[in-house]
């Protein structure tokens, strides 16, 4: 019973519980202060500290995570749209830099590593394959005849490969921002304004990769713990050892899917109109500024696309790479994508959204 009371007290007013000990983080001095108190005090302190850390993590968000979910989503979509439409390799590179900077500013760069790795793999393939098969350029760097076929690597083909790789990486990482900066529950809440079912499907699909990764890591751990040497030998041997794990992973995923579906059914899902619930969040000047910028950037992307501002010629000769950088549409897009970064910087005095 004591434990429950502690939990309740900790939840009710964690800050008040922590007040006698100072702030919510540990320090040797505070630990010593605690050591001089009774064990119940220490347990109480630790429960309160966990609550305080959770609160702190909630309030100390960075980059896009500081914004209201709908605003973060708008910024992400503007970035993705910009990455998708730009074909000029320099513009694609600039968008990619903005996306990566946004990931870093939101303190999710490390969490984005799986997406970065996928981007690198795909970019590498595109980079290698495109020059070999896009031989319509005139400036031949290197050529070889294989029977009746002739492969010519041209300057235009190489630049096209680089441009495509940058563009793909930009799109993939922009969508990774969505997963990492907008809570899946918030994504669902936004989507459910239009259609809860579709939102739920999207939300569950977005969670698939992290859940799969976690399950796979657990299964791999279990196999290693029984002595299976998953990392020894040649690639085909490793693949052969890992292949059966896929069946286990799929079985578990199916079991989980059935359990989740049963749980949803048991809690009345899918039979009638739902209400929507979310903790109220205040609109802040930061949100307003970021949303305005994102909407402006998105509009510039769309209008620019209609006006043909994003087209770039690769073949047979490269178009002018540099002159589009002075284009008005481009400058508006860049400004619209960078402003959310600036207004969410920690040094900005603007307050963040709070619960």
């Amino acid at each position: 019973m004591a434990s429950r009371l502690i939990h309740v007290a900790a939840g009710r007013d964690a800050a008040a519980d922590l007040a006698p000990y100072g702030a919510g983080t540990a320090s040797p001095l505070r630990e010593r202060t605690l050591a001089s108190r009774g064990p119940e005090d220490r347990t109480r302190f630790r429960a309160a500290r966990r609550a305080a850390l959770l609160r702190e993590r909630e309030s100390r968000r960075y980059g896009l995570r500081r914004l209201r979910p709908a605003v973060s989503l708008s910024c992400t979509l503007a970035l993705a749209a910009a990455a998708l439409v730009t074909t000029n390799p320099v513009q694609s590179a600039v968008i990619l830099v903005i996306v990566v900077t946004t990931l870093a500013a939101s303190r999710v760069l490390r969490a984005a590593w799986p997406y970065i790795r996928v981007s690198l793999y795909i970019a590498a393939v595109v980079l290698l394959v495109n020059p070999l098969f896009a031989g319509a350029g005139l400036d031949v760097l290197w050529g070889i005849g294989v029977g009746p076929f002739r492969i010519a690597v041209t300057v235009q083909g190489v630049v096209f490969g680089v441009g495509s790789a940058l563009r793909l990486a930009g799109v993939i990482l922009a969508f990774s921002l969505l997963n990492l900066c907008v809570d899946p529950d918030d994504q669902l809440a936004i989507a459910s304004r239009f259609s809860f079912r579709s939102g739920l499907v999207l939300s569950l699909a977005a969670r698939l990769l992290p859940v799969f990764s976690r399950d796979a890591a657990r299964i791999i751990d279990a196999q290693r713990a029984r002595g299976v040497r998953l990392d020894d030998g040649r690639a085909h041997h490793r693949a052969a050892l890992r292949l059966p794990l896929l069946a286990t992973l799929l079985t578990q995923s199916l079991e989980r899917a059935v359990d989740v579906a049963a749980s949803m059914e048991a809690r009345g899902y899918g039979a009638g109109r739902r209400t929507r619930w979310a903790r109220r969040r205040r609109w802040t000047p930061t949100d307003a500024a970021a949303l305005s910028a994102a909407v402006t950037a998105f509009a510039a992307v769309v209008v620019g696309a209609v006006a043909g501002a994003w087209s770039f010629t690769y073949f047979p000769l490269l178009g002018d790479i540099w002159s589009p950088l002075g284009d008005a549409f481009w400058l508006v897009v860049v400004a619209g994508l960078v402003i959310p970064l600036i207004v969410t910087m920690p040094w900005r005095p603007l307050p963040s959204s709070s619960r």
Partner: protein, 559 residues
């Protein structure tokens, strides 16, 4: 008053299943009742609970006969939304029933489905958080919660919906003793305050028999008993003593009464310490004398595992334990206990290198674990995690055991010998050709245990091996660990089950937020503890100090 739920001649077979999960079950549940459903693994407890809210057969399909009505509504024809208002179901595995990713949203999910107005949801979510002691975790992502915390979230999500019947499938299986008592007390309060009926499927009968107003016993899908707790106890004392509470078992052995009759003056077997104290005070014709012997000293000075100045955790700013020193000797059965989320599972994952310490080191069989890969450490330390399903990659239990042995380069005669031994030890002969993924919860645990134990590693680490395991197999496992210890094998068990720890362990370690709180023989650590102790110790701590189990004391006539 009309009953809340009526099951008439319910027979059910899951799609593709060879045998029926429920066989002509008749049951009536009234308001404010607490119905305890007990039975062995695979006896149909979970299916019975799922019948109550209609997901059997509506969701699972299969062949269904008979009828289930809840508040007068037929569960086969009524929409799930209406039934969800009447019956709240908490599943056995809390990890796979969460839909959302945050605690508050998870609690709100059911209420949103019911169309509850947003303002009311805020209030109900808050009340559910407080009643289950989760307020401090309101902002936590579910992925960061321990199993016990997830179990409380699942319960809170259902409590918030205020159902008339609350069906709980092993709700305390992942909870520490304190949290279990809190949870069960909260459930009882809910029943008393709102008149809700509670249907509780549990293996740890000592935790909840005293709360029950009725006990239903299932055996291979058939409902074989539907009694009040006293009648059940009288039956169980003769037919199934392992389904009684330890105190009930103790008093059922009181002498000088004809067999088959309760050996207490008023004809009732006590379930709780309070009842038993009253009985002992009232009737002094018999007394209890200790029949246990002092714990033998540690078997060996050969160290199997040692941890030096170990700091563990995932966040260096918030380590779970700092500077742990620990030594495990050959032939010990060590039970590690402690509050939910204190770091027990995290600690044991350091023993075979699944996790690396923040500071300090672990030495396994004389080798620094940091220098070994996990698969190399497997020769010295078998590890069974909380999810047995992670171990199954073959199509039969026999193939799994063979694969484990081959992986550790054990073949031929030796492998056959080891395989035979583990199959006999874990009573797996009937399951050998079965697909391990199709086994019931308790059977899965035994199969996975065989996978990690078949090579007889010097150290075996088991994380919650009694989860979902019925009392008879639990007692069997305790005996087995003792036998393995006698043969020089060492086991380190993480468990919340105090009775199991007292029966199986030669040493108990209590882990707290400040590190190891107590370390010694079960008698040393559990005796006179507040919550982390057995029913028998609570009853007899002043009568036969040191007795932890009902078979450690005997009755003697006083005159």
């Amino acid at each position: 008053m009309a009953p809340l739920a009526v099951l008439k001649q319910v027979t059910y077979t899951y799609p593709g299943a060879a045998r029926t999960a429920l066989q002509t079950v008749d049951l009536t549940i009234d308001a404010a009742e607490v119905v305890l459903v007990i039975g062995g693994s695979g006896s149909g407890k979970t299916t019975l609970l799922r019948c109550l809210n209609g997901i059997v057969p509506r969701f699972h399909g299969g062949v269904f006969g008979g009828s289930v009505t809840v508040e007068g509504l037929d569960t086969r024809s009524e929409p799930s939304r209406r039934l969800a208002r009447s019956v709240g179901l908490v599943f056995q595995d809390p990890e796979s029933q969460s839909v959302m990713t945050g605690v508050e949203r998870e609690l709100a999910f059911g209420l949103e489905n019911l169309g509850v107005p947003s303002a009311d949801i805020t209030r109900l979510v808050e009340e559910a958080l407080i009643s289950t002691g989760l307020s401090h975790l309101r902002h936590a992502p579910l992925s960061e919660l321990s199993g016990g915390e997830l179990q409380r979230v699942a319960l809170a999500g259902v409590i918030a919906m205020q159902p008339r019947i609350l069906a709980l499938d092993e709700p305390t299986s992942q909870l520490d003793p304190v949290s279990s008592e809190d949870l069960l007390a909260a459930i009882r309060r809910l029943s008393e305050d709102t008149g809700a009926a509670i249907v509780l499927a549990e293996h740890r009968i000592e935790r909840c028999l005293h709360l029950a107003t009725r006990v239903v016993v299932l055996d291979q899908g058939e409902l074989i008993r539907d009694d009040d707790p006293d009648t059940f106890a009288r039956w169980a004392a003769i037919a199934r003593p392992d389904w009684l509470t330890p105190i009930g078992r103790l008093f059922s052995r009181r002498p000088s009464t004809p067999k088959g009759h309760p050996p207490t003056p008023d004809g009732r077997l006590p379930f709780t310490v309070k009842d038993a104290h009253a009985l002992l005070a009232r009737d002094d014709s018999c007394r209890l004398i200790p029949s246990w012997h002092d714990d033998p000293p540690r078997r060996s000075s050969e160290t199997v595992l040692s941890a030096e100045k170990l700091t563990i955790g995932y966040d260096p700013e918030l380590p779970l334990a700092v500077g742990l020193d620990l030594t495990v000797d050959r032939g010990e059965v060590v039970a590690l206990m402690g509050e939910n989320g204190v770091g027990k599972s995290t600690l044991v994952k350091h023993f075979n290198g699944l996790l690396r310490p923040l500071r300090g080191r672990v030495v396994l069989g004389g080798l620094d674990v940091a220098t070994l890969s996990v698969s190399e450490a497997a020769r010295l330390c078998g590890y069974l995690g909380q999810n047995p399903g992670d171990y199954f990659v073959k199509e039969s239990v026999a193939a799994e055991i063979a694969y484990s042995l081959a992986t550790l380069d054990l073949r031929g005669e030796r492998a056959a010998q080891l395989s035979e031994r583990v199959i006999a030890d874990l009573d797996l002969a009937d399951l050998l050709e079965r697909d391990p993924r199709g086994l019931s919860g308790g059977e899965r645990t035994r199969a996975a245990l065989a996978i990690v134990a078949c090579a007889e590693p010097p150290l075996l680490v088991l994380d919650e091996p009694t989860r979902g395991v019925d009392p008879s197999h639990k007692t069997g496992l305790a005996k087995l660990l003792r036998a393995w210890a006698a043969a020089g094998r060492t086991t380190f068990v993480v468990t919340h089950d105090v009775e199991f720890a007292a029966r199986a362990a030669s040493r108990v370690i209590l882990l707290g937020p400040d590190g190891i709180l107590a370390d010694g023989s079960p008698r040393h650590v559990l005796h006179r503890a507040l919550f982390f102790t057995t029913q028998i110790d609570r009853l007899l701590r002043d009568v036969t100090p040191g007795a932890l189990l009902d078979d450690e004391v005997t009755w003697e006539a006083t005159s």
